[in-house]
């Protein structure tokens, strides 16, 4: 299959792995930002092909994982409101809040629907004018444009029963938060190819410059990931720290201007709490006041205000350390014992892009 098979070619993978081995002269630590890359690495066992001194740590790039408990609780509460249809992408439904997950709410007769595209939710709102269609809009810069487009279309169509509970987050502020932490040990980054397809990579250039860290925009297939690693390693060995683009078949420096424009039309940056990590300034998106009628947080303010202060993470869950690359999932004492996909303590164990889920699924003890 085109665009897949050539990027999973065994001989090319072996050649790239060998090239990395030849280049590395001392230990380096590289973070892949995106959960999609983490899954590719663990699913294809790419880390096993790397020389011993080269360490990959997994980043915060799983939107499901970093959505705060309080927002999941809000989604569950809204789903339980009479007359509300709560729409969500599938992998959000198993993520535990403090009041259970959306699957639990669905089992208790809340109307929770899995959608494949924001346009599905828009169509649902049009077709059911007597119901409130609330969409749990979760994601990075990649999914922000379709949600923004849905809001613009809802306004054009004159819909009055369509709103978003926005949990959108942005990658560059998270990279900066990691780099400015005193515990940081990351020396190079694989930036997320799909986020950069939308946003381009200009904004990463100042980060590379200020923190003297190589950043390589990287795709998701095994050949992409290894090539991205090879490019970071080259820079580290040569003492360079610039932004380079491995994912040229999808990413340009300026990104998709049209997609950026629609995001700017509807959303503006805001402070955001990242689950397990804490608050990062200007790291999230919220709906602009011109579109306030489509903001579920405003629309249902009275409903949500009835509940007490925001809930906290399960005390035993160390997902914050995992998401910052400070702890490998199998090194967590709860991994695979008190925390499993059936009974998760935190989101990374159930999200399809979560690091803990990747290790649980592909790499448990006794494997290989």
């Amino acid at each position: 299959m085109k665009y897949v098979d050539e990027f999973r070619d065994r001989a090319v993978v072996a050649t790239l792995a060998e090239r990395i081995k030849q280049t590395v002269s001392r230990p380096w630590t590289i973070m892949e930002v995106c959960g999609g890359q983490t899954h590719s690495i663990v699913r294809f066992g790419l880390d096993e092909l790397l020389p011993k001194g080269l360490t990959l740590v997994h980043g915060p790039g799983c939107p499901v994982c970093v959505t705060p408990v309080s927002l999941i609780d809000d989604a569950v509460r809204l789903a339980r409101q009479p007359g509300v249809i709560l729409c969500s992408f599938g992998d959000m439904l198993r993520v535990p809040g403090s009041q259970g997950d959306l699957f639990g709410a669905k089992a208790e007769r809340a109307d929770v629907r899995i959608i494949y595209s924001p346009l599905d939710a828009l169509e649902l709102a049009r077709a059911t004018p007597n119901r409130e269609v609330v969409c749990f809009a979760v994601g990075f810069e990649t999914t922000a444009p379709p949600w923004a487009m849905a809001v613009v279309q809802a306004k054009t169509m004159g819909l009055t029963n369509f709103s978003l509970l926005v949990a959108h987050v942005l990658v560059p502020p998270a990279i900066e938060a990691i780099l400015s932490s005193p515990q940081n040990r990351i020396q190079g980054f694989l930036a997320a190819g799909h986020v950069c397809t939308v946003m381009g990579y200009e904004e990463y250039e100042s980060i590379a410059l200020r923190y003297r860290v190589p950043i390589v925009v990287t795709g998701f297939e095994p050949v992409d990931v290894l090539e991205g690693i090879a490019m970071v390693v080259n820079q580290l060995e040569e003492g360079r720290a610039v932004v380079e683009n491995q994912y040229v078949r999808s990413v340009s420096r300026e990104g998709n201007r049209q997609a950026q424009a629609v995001v700017d039309e509807v959303f503006e940056p805001s402070s955001r709490i990242w689950r397990g990590i804490g608050e990062i300034p200007r790291s999230g998106l919220r709906i602009k006041s011109a579109y306030a009628e489509f903001d579920a947080a405003a629309r249902f303010r009275d409903v949500l205000a009835r509940y007490g202060p925001a809930a906290q993470e399960h005390p035993e869950c160390q997902s914050g350390l995992v998401l910052q690359g400070l702890l490998k999932p199998p090194d967590c004492p709860a991994f695979g014992t008190r925390c499993t996909p059936e009974r998760p303590l935190g989101a990374p164990m159930v999200s399809s892009e979560g690091a803990c889920a990747a290790y649980y699924r592909y790499r448990r003890a006794g494997a290989g």
Binding site: V4, R10, F44, V64, R94
Partner: protein, 353 residues
């Protein structure tokens, strides 16, 4: 032997069933309307001498040998999908469960739970489809039951079928017969049924060309056994797909299984749809595919027999059995590394981006 699944039979009775166009609660109430429904929709269409007496159960004389007995319930949305419908599925699923025991399928029961308001035409279509599938598979539907539930309490039609089959003497197909060194064969390309159903249920136009693989498998199984291929274990790859089936076999047999990702046949449209949605085709449901576990010396004859049948024309060798039971299944990836192929916690969910 040639599969007959493409042959069609005109069995529907032209007589209208009373004057009702939709199923009503009274159709399950035990009175005259129910009798009309049973007579005009089920009995005429399933038409066979064991069903005709309309007794509380069917009876038949017993041959020597070993009986196989299985049951399964069918709840699919939508009821009709590319390459099949709930009726075909309800016959093929149970016929295939019997075939996986090495049995020749003989008789099926059919229990219907109908939702009030269901179109009688839809019911007729499903029943006709069941009759065609049963006839093509050489089985008779000899007893049944109908219940009607309130509107909103069902999904149109739920069907349960149970089946009885006869296992020939000397056939011992089970995980306990699996030995280290055995070969793992798969009967064809994987994932088409799950993707076909998903594509119509969710309106995914990019997967529109994919057809369900729903088909009866007893013909090829009978041929495998009849040709003298020493068949240790068979398993159809329904819910949970190849990955779940191999895990179940590995655990039950106390052996390990190693499979080669590159050798597993998957059609490009199915791969493409799965890549887009973040689904792994190795966990996607099939309704006309199975794995056969045979001694390594029997690989060539087994593949030759399987490839004689349309339903298993793309049969392939995908792996082997080892004496290391943990983890039960290891996958050699296309890039040359290895990882475990685990059971999933629940259903696969489409991803965000």
């Amino acid at each position: 032997m040639i599969m007959m699944d493409d042959q069609s039979f005109e069995l529907a009775c032209p007589l209208p069933m009373s004057d009702k166009k939709t199923v009503q609660l009274a159709h399950g109430g035990g009175g005259r309307l129910m009798r009309e429904l049973i007579q005009e929709v089920f009995v005429r269409t399933f038409d066979n001498p064991l069903l005709a007496p309309l007794h509380d159960g069917a009876t038949w004389p017993v041959e020597r040998g070993t009986l196989a007995f299985t049951t399964d319930s069918y709840v699919v949305r939508p009821l009709f999908f590319p390459g099949g419908d709930i009726g075909r599925l309800a016959v093929h699923g149970t016929v295939n469960d019997l075939a996986m025991c090495g049995a020749k399928p003989l008789y099926l029961s059919a229990g219907f739970i109908l939702e009030e308001g269901l179109s009688v035409d839809v019911l007729r279509q499903v029943v006709k489809s069941m009759a065609e599938a049963a006839r093509a598979a050489g089985v008779s539907i000899v007893t049944g039951d109908t219940k009607v539930v309130d509107r909103g309490k069902g999904d149109g039609i739920f069907i349960n079928t149970a089946g009885v089959g006869l296992v020939p003497d000397g056939v011992h197909i089970s995980p306990q017969s699996v030995r280290p060194g055995d070969a793992i064969l798969v009967s064809g390309d994987l994932g088409s049924h799950g993707v076909a159903v998903l594509s119509v249920r969710e309106g995914l136009s990019f997967a529109g060309e994919v057809q369900s693989d729903s088909a009866p498998l007893h013909g090829v199984v009978e041929d495998l056994i009849g040709s003298g291929v020493e068949t240790h274990c068979l398993r159809d790859l329904t819910r949970g797909g190849l990955a779940s089936a191999l895990n179940e076999i590995g655990e039950a047999a106390g052996v390990g299984i190693v499979i080669d990702e590159a050798a597993i046949p998957i059609l490009d449209p199915v791969r493409g749809a799965c890549e887009l949605l973040g689904l792994d085709p190795l966990y996607v449901a099939n309704e006309g595919r199975f794995v056969a576990i045979v001694p390594s010396s029997q690989v060539e004859p087994a593949l030759a027999v399987m490839r004689r049948h349309a339903v298993s024309g793309r049969a392939a060798l995908i792996g082997s059995v080892t004496d290391r039971p943990l983890p039960p299944v290891v996958l050699q990836t296309v890039v040359g590394t290895t990882r475990i192929l685990d059971l999933l916690s629940g259903e696969q969910l489409p991803r965000i981006c």
